[in-house]
């Protein structure tokens, strides 16, 4: 066992880490937007629109991420003649996939705010939109923090799968490095620990913030 191979090639692995962080961060931002939109439509939208949103959520939740990723990578060139690069396919697949889960979190969060809170807002003459914006969303946001953190962690974890379409993120870099150095134990173990540290500290940090804010989201 000799971890020098990892230290000697740290720039190569760090390049992978940068790509992992980049696609994860971008996918998280887009997933949040999708989740807010789709979850909001499911909670408050007109029925036909809510039904469309429900179909998106149910379909995506029923198909493995690997399959969505491969489909998004291989199908568009066949259908349209053009496709996305591996990197942007990775971001799109992560966002489409996790967006459905985020939507469920948003919906559950919005609906978990007591009816009495909405009524209190209405009773003082607020419009429904104002009630949602000023009263429901701030409380729901606080309540959603722990599950959102878990699924943001899941995005980082799932980003490893994008190595199968040769996105040069950390897992792919680890594979390439292993094929050259033949030191799988040191390389894969190190990379695994890096993932664990990123994902766990993300969840832990949000949990710490949540503990302080929780009373403000509890009505």
């Amino acid at each position: 066992m000799n971890f020098d191979v990892v230290l000697d090639n740290r720039d190569f692995l760090l390049d992978g880490l940068r790509v992992t962080v980049f696609i994860s961060a971008l996918a998280i931002v887009i997933s949040l937007a999708i989740g807010l939109l789709v979850g909001g439509v499911r909670a408050y939208g007109p029925r036909p629109l809510a039904a469309v949103a429900a179909v998106y959520v149910d379909v995506v939740r029923s198909i493995p991420f690997l399959v969505i990723l491969m489909w998004l990578f291989f199908a568009p060139p066949i259908m349209l003649g053009v496709g996305l690069s591996p990197l942007w396919t990775a971001v799109a697949a992560l966002a489409v996939h996790e967006g459905a889960y985020f939507a469920e979190i948003f919906r559950a969060g919005l609906l978990s705010v007591r009816a009495g809170q909405t009524q209190a807002g209405l009773a003082m003459g607020m419009t429904k939109m104002l009630v949602i914006r000023r009263i429901v969303v701030p409380q729901a946001t606080i309540r959603m923090l722990p599950p959102l953190a878990t699924y943001c962690g899941a995005i980082v974890q799932k980003s490893a799968v994008t190595s199968v379409i040769a996105v040069e993120e950390m897992t792919r870099q680890a594979q390439l490095l292993t094929s050259v150095t033949y030191r799988p134990f040191e390389i894969f173990t190190s990379v695994m620990v890096v993932y664990a540290v990123i994902v766990y500290s993300l969840i832990w940090a949000v949990e710490a913030v949540y503990k302080r804010l929780a009373p403000r989201g509890a009505s």
Binding site: G125, M126, I135, P215
Partner: protein
């Protein structure tokens, strides 16, 4: 026009229930309720649980829809569109059983929320008036606290200040003391009595018979969705000949809390 015209009252009717009916599917909740509330009057609605008191109250500001009949507020029938309803609600304050303070705002934030967001007042003037109202309910010192750090009685007093901040013409109280520990009931009733003394028009659903007897101008007894008695507290609560009223009164607790001066 008042359904219960009593000759000496010249103040206009601010609120009129005219044959209000409400049912959930087959089950009737309100079966033709008619009475009215004059400006400056304090009317307590009492009755056994399940009699439809809270439902009736919530029909006034449209939180519940009724099936038939009319409710007139300041002479005009309640609108049906949410937008016009919102404008009516600006003039009707409501206090809830479970307070419903907004947990993500400070105490003062709760009180200025309506004036700033709904009435479009400036933050500075809303805050100044909010502090006055908090002082009135004895909680000026708690302005920066979060609701979660307040006792139930304190939360309900803030909720009253929040409703008053809208300068309502009518205040609705939906079992405002039912969720409180017994030792906190008095401080909330005290604030309510003070409001009544200031001349606020109030429609109060309550289980506190002692309070109703001392503060109400008129008591309405509701049973199974119908008004079974209505009149001055002394007539209704002490000398009623109606057997259903007498039966109800025997079942309630009379040794309720006294209205107290607000504590901080």
């Amino acid at each position: 026009m008042s359904m219960l015209a009593n000759g000496e009252a010249l103040a206009p009717d601010i609120l009129v229930f005219d044959g209000v009916v409400k049912s959930y599917g087959e089950a009737p909740v309100l079966q033709g309720v008619s009475f009215s509330v004059k400006a400056g009057e304090v009317v307590c609605v009492v009755g056994p649980s399940g009699s439809g008191k809270s439902t009736l109250l919530r029909c006034v500001n449209g939180l519940e829809k009724f099936t038939a009949g009319r409710i007139l507020f300041e002479g005009a029938e309640l609108p049906t569109s949410e937008r016009s309803l919102a404008q009516i609600r600006q003039r009707i304050g409501m206090v809830f059983q479970h307070f419903e303070l907004f947990p993500h705002m400070t105490v003062l934030g709760n009180v200025v929320e309506g004036p700033v967001q709904v009435l479009g007042e400036s933050k500075a003037s809303a805050r100044a008036r909010g502090l006055e109202l908090l002082a009135k309910v004895g909680l000026e010192s708690k302005q920066h606290e979060r609701p979660a750090n307040l006792s139930g009685g304190q939360q309900q007093r803030v909720a009253i200040a929040r409703a008053l901040a809208m300068r309502p013409d009518l205040m609705l109280f939906d079992e405002a003391t039912s969720a409180l520990d017994p030792q906190m009931v008095g401080e909330v009733l005290g604030v309510m009595k003070q409001l009544a003394d200031d001349g606020m028009t109030m429609l109060i659903v309550t289980h506190e018979m002692g309070f109703a007897k001392r503060v109400a101008d008129r008591v309405v007894v509701l049973d199974q969705g119908q008004v079974i008695a209505s009149g001055p507290p002394s007539d209704v609560l002490e000398n009623s000949a109606n057997p259903r009223v007498r039966e109800f009164l025997q079942q309630v607790r009379w040794d309720g809390a006294e209205a107290e001066a607000p504590r901080t």
